[in-house]
Subunit: 446 residues, 2 copies
């Protein structure tokens, strides 16, 4: 029987000591290509991002409003306008296990397409959890750990985020409790097992463990759940436990910040390859964190230096917040427990059609990504599921990596563009994760 | 609907043209750390490996005996005693997607164990198929492709090899047909999906598609299959098709040769870290290819230069060919279609207990590994399944990567050694793959 991360009947003093030890650097060598700072696009935007509002007063949130749920360092990052924020050494050491992530010229895909464009992919699927999510999971776990928190709660859809936070909890000694959208909980048992191997606990949502969950089940006992519902449950549990906080895998500003390592590395890697200003970058968009991480450093450079790299958000046609949603204040969850966020939203009660595979199922979109699209700093396109999977299979057979279903939306955007691109045009696509745990969805398509 | 790798009704001329294009280098940059040559331990052994025998005559096999099944270049490699064999540029380019594979100091595991030994892991799970198997799959597919073969057949157990050969088939344009041990075919649908995404075809074995399969089913209609049975089926189909060859994922000398890139890189990486002569190396052993790939370059150095790195094969207690088998000539398959191989064997009819998870289920062991153990150049230990999984969970929670069940045997060997090691002792373990597609086996354990 495996020892748990957090032994039963452990005293709080012992837990804090154990966690303290795990937050210390090990002295591991960190390659110089691993960024030393996160990049904060808020420093370069022509207009500030509209503030999050208190749901009771409709007034801009104060830092203390968030303290029941988030570490102070993360709250500061949420509203910071500093351009660069230093990455703690322990976080850099953990990043160094899979960072810098590879930026690869897709020469075999180019040959298969017969294009003379240069296609590069930035691959985040080599992290232990298989996606970009650990970039922020490790940072969030770290700041909570050094502030005396011993437990994190969260929601997850397809499971990438729940697995990533469970991984971060294992590395830094925190208990992790996850509410997973019921439809995915039933369909994706491997993800649940992944969380459990890391010592996390995973419940289907809605559950009977929370008031919010019980209310949702009373309203519709057969609901397959939604991210908005699962967020309500995780937030409720964190708010009721003085030693627990809540962690969000996307949407919020500090999450976008942590993901900036993707784009910072990509910019450096392209420069080393002599392609420093790509013509266009495609990123998939659900809550927005992979897209923001890859593109914001380039957006900042466009704004500061007048470069003209085009940035394209690729979202699923089945959950089209940017291309079909309204830009307005809305809640991040179904129960209305979160702050009001100014974002493109399909309405917090939106449940994507069951046929839609994988992640990218959130009703809203990162406020900062929404703001950038609203200002015309970034474009958005919607990709149909069959086109996304076709692009994923074409990519897998040419390049070997099976893209995550989420990432196939960016692959489809890039391939469609490449088929009509000019000679030598430089196209970058964000491969946010691998699709190994989503193979049944591929099999249905194939 | 996905386009197949090999369009229906394609003429042979068109297939050869398509495959020819895919075997050409793309001009991709290949890092200097990717080896330019494979290392062949046969050049340094104090006694030659006993030859494979013809099953009809009991005389040493002649190259032409193998030509119905294998590419000429591979047959030459099988009997070569050249120390270094050049890696074709197209193969190096494909290797460069995941090679050099990381050699990582497991500082967080060392801290968890409280050891002052230095533990390194050489991680092969970052390949697109998630294991070391593509190192030989790509090489075998390449040599067959340039010799005019358009189809490969093979067997697979847990599915790592079938997925890897399907990947190689996709990259180089070959049709791939896989017979998977029935027990795994039923229990591991994700692996089958992985093969299909790459355009491969997967049948449960025994199947009704071959004489060998029908005979086995007649004998026991409820058999859960074995690698030996699946080999018989794949060999039968390849032998009956003038444009098809057979590919083996382990056991044979040329497979060990291709895997030598693991150990060559590790030796270079350790030298750069100032730990050029490790005290001990642990590798898991099923058919022997990962173990051989990691350890043979060090064995060769021990023999040539008198270094004393101890090499340890870690096999499952449930399938203990090296520690419990007999060293004698045996068939590689159940039906007796293969040559006779001098190896440690549990007998070709051996079927491991159903409780045994993952791979490492083969009745025999690579002749060259067997020879090395017989000569005392390498040690062997057996690891119980629960101890292996316990080590895997400990490793995952400390280092983030969930090891493949196969690899956990090496992890267990290394951890047991580290708990009693001297300060500064240098321990290397082979992490042959990740366990993402084996999570249900972990869940049963957790």
């Amino acid at each position: 029987m495996a020892e748990p991360n957090h032994p039963a009947h452990e005293t709080r003093e012992h837990a804090l000591q154990r966690i303290h030890e795990l937050t210390q650097p090990t002295g591991a060598a960190v390659p110089s290509q691993v960024p030393t700072h996160w990049y904060n696009v808020a420093a370069d935007l022509p207009e500030p991002v509209p503030p999050h509002l208190h749901p009771g007063t409709n007034q801009p949130l104060q830092p203390e409003d968030l303290e029941p749920l988030f570490a102070k360092a993360l709250i500061e990052q949420e509203v910071s306008t500093e351009r660069y924020i230093e990455i703690p050494q322990t976080v850099r050491e953990i990043y160094a296990q899979w960072r810098p992530s590879p930026l690869v010229r897709a020469l075999r895909l180019e040959r298969a397409l017969g294009t003379k464009a240069h296609i590069y992919y930035k691959y985040e699927g080599g992290s232990p959890a298989g996606s970009h999510k650990p970039n922020t999971a490790v940072a969030q776990a770290y700041y909570n750990a050094i502030e005396g928190v011993t437990k994190l709660t969260t929601e997850t859809g397809a499971g990438q985020w729940g697995a990533s936070l469970s991984l971060a909890g294992a590395l830094l000694g925190l208990e992790v409790e996850v509410w997973q959208v019921r439809a995915s909980y039933d369909a994706k048992p491997y993800r649940r097992a992944q969380m459990e191997v890391y010592g996390g606990t995973c419940h289907p949502s809605p559950s009977t463990l929370t008031e919010a969950g019980r209310a949702m089940l009373a309203k519709d006992p057969n609901t397959t759940g939604s991210l908005g519902m699962a967020i309500s449950e995780a937030v409720e549990v964190a708010a009721g436990d003085p030693h627990a906080h809540y962690a969000l895998g996307s949407v919020l500003n500090h999450v976008m910040l942590h993901q900036s390592v993707i784009g910072e590395e990509a910019m450096q890697q392209l420069t080393e390859l002599g392609e420093s200003v790509p013509d266009v970058i495609f990123g998939c968009a659900g809550g927005g964190s992979n897209l923001a991480g890859l593109t914001f450093p380039f957006m900042g450079r466009n704004l500061r230096e007048g470069t003209t790299t085009r940035l394209v958000a690729c979202e699923p046609a089945a959950c089209p917040s940017l291309t079909q949603g309204e830009y307005r204040y809305d809640f991040g969850d179904v129960a209305g427990l979160t702050p009001l966020l100014k974002m493109y939203t399909l309405g917090r009660d939106f449940v994507p059609p069951a046929i839609h595979a994988g992640g990218l199922r959130y009703h809203g979109m990162s406020p900062i990504v929404s703001h950038a699209v609203h200002l015309g700093l970034m474009d958005a396109i919607a990709v149909a599921q069959n086109d996304a999977f076709a692009a994923g299979v074409l990519f897998a057979r040419a390049e070997g990596i099976i893209p995550a279903p989420e990432s196939t939306h960016a692959v489809a955007g890039a391939i469609a563009h490449a088929r009509q691109a000019a000679d030598g045009e430089v196209i970058v696509l964000g491969l946010s994760g691998n699709g190994v745990l989503d193979l049944p969805a591929y099999e249905q398509y194939v």
